[in-house]
């Protein structure tokens, strides 16, 4: 085989520690171990066809930046001029430029899988200091790559079809935006939402920072658009149960939970709600600050505007009595016999937009959240100031309905917390929403004193710092650098024991309402969804992006995209930006008719396979199956699912399973080249 070896300087990255010119010279000496020639008896493991006389580094060169146009041209020219049948590039990690060099080889007419990379940067020049030793090591690495490429076979990628349909999991602003963008590009989208209505947390908010736009006013048009768009199918009160497949051909099973109401017949009149006798159920949308009935619509602008029967609290489902809603319903839309429906659908891409929840405050007893009605969370505060909330937007204390004379905000409850109680990260949105809450209070009640206990005030977005300063300078909100040790309920008020760090003294005062900025965490189902999608999540449970800087909306699992808080704490502008970005990536796949697959997949030699099936259990991707029929069976690898991890090849006791591009013989040759 005629092999060409190219050694990159990578500027000074490699050149400073590895003598690149010498390396390029020495590789030409073929299979050498420091001597100028070798006899076949020294290397018994080298097969005759690879004997030194047929060794074939017929061309070698070094160059400053092989990844640059000039470098690529050098490679393609050499392939053509010298009839190269195999190429070794000694440069940076294959993760950086393997694809680049493979494309160059292809352009010159060489099968791209007859090109190997020797990593002499991350694995050599970047970790050693002694030039002679590093150069010797680089030579060993080059020899290993040469040994491997000698045994390389041409490989040809396969093709997958792409189902032109997207699945968006999560119907908050992130999911809605992603769905709208994909739908606008002309592709069908299924938007699945667990609760009875789309809208998510944004629907619960009062105003949004820094513009103080009414949240529902900017959200509901998008909700309505999502419901009425011809390309979007809403599956509300539904959950994804199972996902199988791979990019281009996912299959998902969606459970449409039984509402007990026929969506097609319901007019959203609300008569059933009025008739329902079970009125004391804590309303989740109101964060438990108001009650709802057993048959309910979560909020007035719900999309779809169709009620759901909560079977855990409905008198009929619990003890067979009532059915008053059925009687009150004129279009006869109530259907107690309705059952969950399972639908299976095929998708080309999946977008995960499963959102967040505030953490439970059970472990933070010092703030008295469970013991005092007037200690509330920020989300509960949003409901209090919201005109559609439990008090009609009037700022009233939950305990006695009075207007508070003083409101105290406590930041970082459970955030920036390295102990087992809390979350180590900053929840990002709380400094801004607290400034917003403070301003909203002052607008309605300028005479109410507002104080905020903070560790830092973080205002990284556009117009954020100005917004916070407005709270302080224009509205007179008192910001105290310090934290609260304990909140004590006393005589209908709340006494706080706190520390003012700039005064370096204790600050004890009496207040009427305490608002806790609780940390955020990924919503409860995120773990389940992550496992279903085989999408990695980080130590805090947030879905991980493939690369934090350069691939922020893609999961490492091909075909799965991420947006919103499911991926990490962020505010609405960032969520919408991420959603559109995820949609863009999704569209990039959907618009293709075919996807090229990785040809470095496992393959079983039918003659050697004895059907033991060990590989089937080892495969993490479910890519191997035993072909049905008479004994002995042989296994079959689905090359679309196979990710080329090589586990099966390692496990196979008979050596029948091999990994294309990383065959047993190739790896043995590499080891021999390094060790012998």
């Amino acid at each position: 085989m005629r092999i060409g070896v190219f050694v990159c300087h990578c500027g000074n990255n490699i050149k400073a520690t590895v003598d690149v010119a010498l390396l390029a010279e020495r590789v030409r000496e073929g299979f050498l171990w420091g001597a100028s020639s070798v006899s076949p008896s020294v290397s018994p493991s080298v097969s005759p066809s690879a004997s030194p006389s047929v060794t074939s580094v017929v061309f070698s060169a070094d160059y400053m930046y092989l990844c640059a146009e000039g470098g690529q041209k050098m490679i393609t020219d050499a392939i053509t001029e010298h009839g190269l049948e195999g190429v070794v590039v000694c440069a940076c990690s294959p993760r950086m430029h393997e694809a680049t060099f493979r494309k160059a080889a292809q352009r010159a007419g060489l099968n791209p899988y007859k090109l190997e990379i020797a990593n002499i940067r991350e694995q050599c020049s970047w970790v050693h200091a002694d030039k002679k030793a590093a150069t010797d090591k680089a030579l060993s690495l080059a020899k290993a790559a040469i040994a491997k490429v000698k045994l390389a076979k041409p490989l040809f990628p396969g093709e997958n079809t792409v189902e032109k349909r997207a699945l968006v999991i999560g119907g908050g602003i992130a999911g809605i935006q992603a769905a709208l963008d994909i739908a606008e590009a002309g592709f069908a989208v299924d938007l699945v939402e667990k609760t009875p209505s789309i809208g998510g947390k944004m629907a619960q908010l009062d105003k949004t920072f820094p513009t103080l736009d009414c949240s529902a006013c900017i959200l509901t048009p998008k909700m309505v658009e999502a419901a009425s768009h011809e390309n979007i199918t809403l599956h509300t009160y539904s959950e994804v149960e199972k996902v199988e497949g791979f990019v281009g051909s996912f299959t998902a099973v969606i459970r449409k939970k039984a509402r007990g109401v026929n969506i097609k017949k319901c007019t959203g009149c609300g008569d059933c709600l009025a008739a329902c006798p079970m009125k004391k159920i804590p309303n989740e949308f109101e964060s438990g600050m108001a009650n709802r009935t057993a048959i309910y619509i979560p909020f007035a602008q719900a999309v779809p505007n169709v009620p759901v029967i909560d079977r855990n609290h409905c008198a009929y489902f619990k003890n067979g009595k009532c059915k008053r809603c059925e009687g009150a319903c004129q279009p006869k839309a109530i259907d107690f016999s309705q059952e969950d429906e399972l639908i299976a659908e095929r998708y080309g891409v999946i977008v995960a937009a499963t959102g967040y929840e505030p953490i439970a405050l059970d472990a933070f007893g010092e703030y008295g959240y469970h013991d005092n009605k007037d200690v509330i969370t920020s989300l509960e505060f949003e409901r209090l100031t919201n005109a559609s909330g439990p008090t009609g937007g009037k700022l009233l204390r939950p305990s006695d309905g009075r207007v508070p004379k003083r409101v105290t905000f406590i930041q970082c409850v459970g955030s920036r917390d390295a102990t087992a109680r809390g979350k180590p990260y900053c929840s990002k949105v709380c400094c801004m929403y607290t400034a917003k809450h403070a301003i909203l209070i002052k607008e309605k009640h300028p005479e109410t004193d507002v104080e905020v206990f903070y560790i830092d005030v973080r205002t990284p977005g556009k117009s954020f710092e100005e917004f916070y300063r407005r709270a302080v300078e224009a509205y007179g909100v008192r910001y105290i650098k310090g934290q609260v040790g304990k909140v004590i309920g006393e005589n209908g008020s709340l006494r706080i024991q706190a520390m003012d760090m700039l005064e370096n003294g204790r600050y004890d005062s009496v207040t009427d309402l305490v608002v806790l900025a609780a940390a955020v965490e990924p919503s409860a189902d995120t773990k389940k969804i992550a496992r279903m999608l085989a999408a990695p999540a980080d130590v805090n449970g947030f879905l991980s992006e493939a690369h934090p800087k350069l691939r922020p909306v893609e999961s490492a699992t091909a075909g799965v995209f991420l947006c919103g808080m499911a991926n990490g704490p962020k505010d609405i502008p960032e969520t919408v930006a991420q959603a559109s970005a995820a949609a863009c990536k999704a569209i990039g796949i959907l618009m293709k008719d075919k996807l090229v697959t990785n040809p470095c997949t496992a393959k079983a030699d039918e003659d050697l396979c004895n059907g033991c099936g060990l590989c089937v259990g080892v495969c993490p991707y479910g890519a191997i199956s035993s072909e049905g029929g008479a004994f002995p069976r042989v296994v079959c690898v689905n090359s679309a699912l196979c990710q080329g991890c090589g586990g099966c090849a390692a496990a196979c006791p008979s050596g029948a399973m091999d990994l294309q591009g990383f065959s047993h013989r190739q790896i043995t040759a590499e080891v021999d080249a390094l060790c012998l």
Partner: protein, 118 residues
């Protein structure tokens, strides 16, 4: 020596939680700060480290896992004295000891007065 003082982000929760903070010349977050910057000697002359009750409220509420009560005891022990500079400690113990006080209080008071580090 417990060396976690640089985990402190000076949030102030320890001092807010401390029952003795209002009496101390240097509240807990300050002695953590000083020990971090100047070592134990920078707090050894304070009353505060002797006023610590070892009630662990500070440690229970600290979000970073800093242990001000441990640091105070280390600072006391590092002086190898039986009393603080004011010299009141042992006098108070002998003056106030009587039959009714729980045995553990006597032992604890003597121990807290600061035995020299072995």
């Amino acid at each position: 020596m417990i060396s976690m003082t640089n985990k402190c982000m000076q949030c102030g929760r320890c001092s807010a939680a401390c029952p003795m903070a209002t009496e101390m010349d240097l509240p807990p977050h300050m002695w953590v700060y000083r020990i971090n910057n100047g070592g134990q000697s920078s707090v050894q002359q304070t009353e505060a480290i002797w006023q610590c009750l070892s009630c662990f409220c500070c440690e229970a509420r600290c979000p970073r896992g800093v242990k001000p009560a441990h640091l105070a005891e280390e600072a006391r022990g590092g002086q190898g004295k039986f009393t603080n500079d004011k010299g009141k400690l042992l006098e108070n113990i002998s003056a106030n000891a009587n039959d009714k006080i729980p045995r553990q209080l006597l032992v604890a008071a003597l121990r807290k007065a600061g035995e020299p580090c072995a």
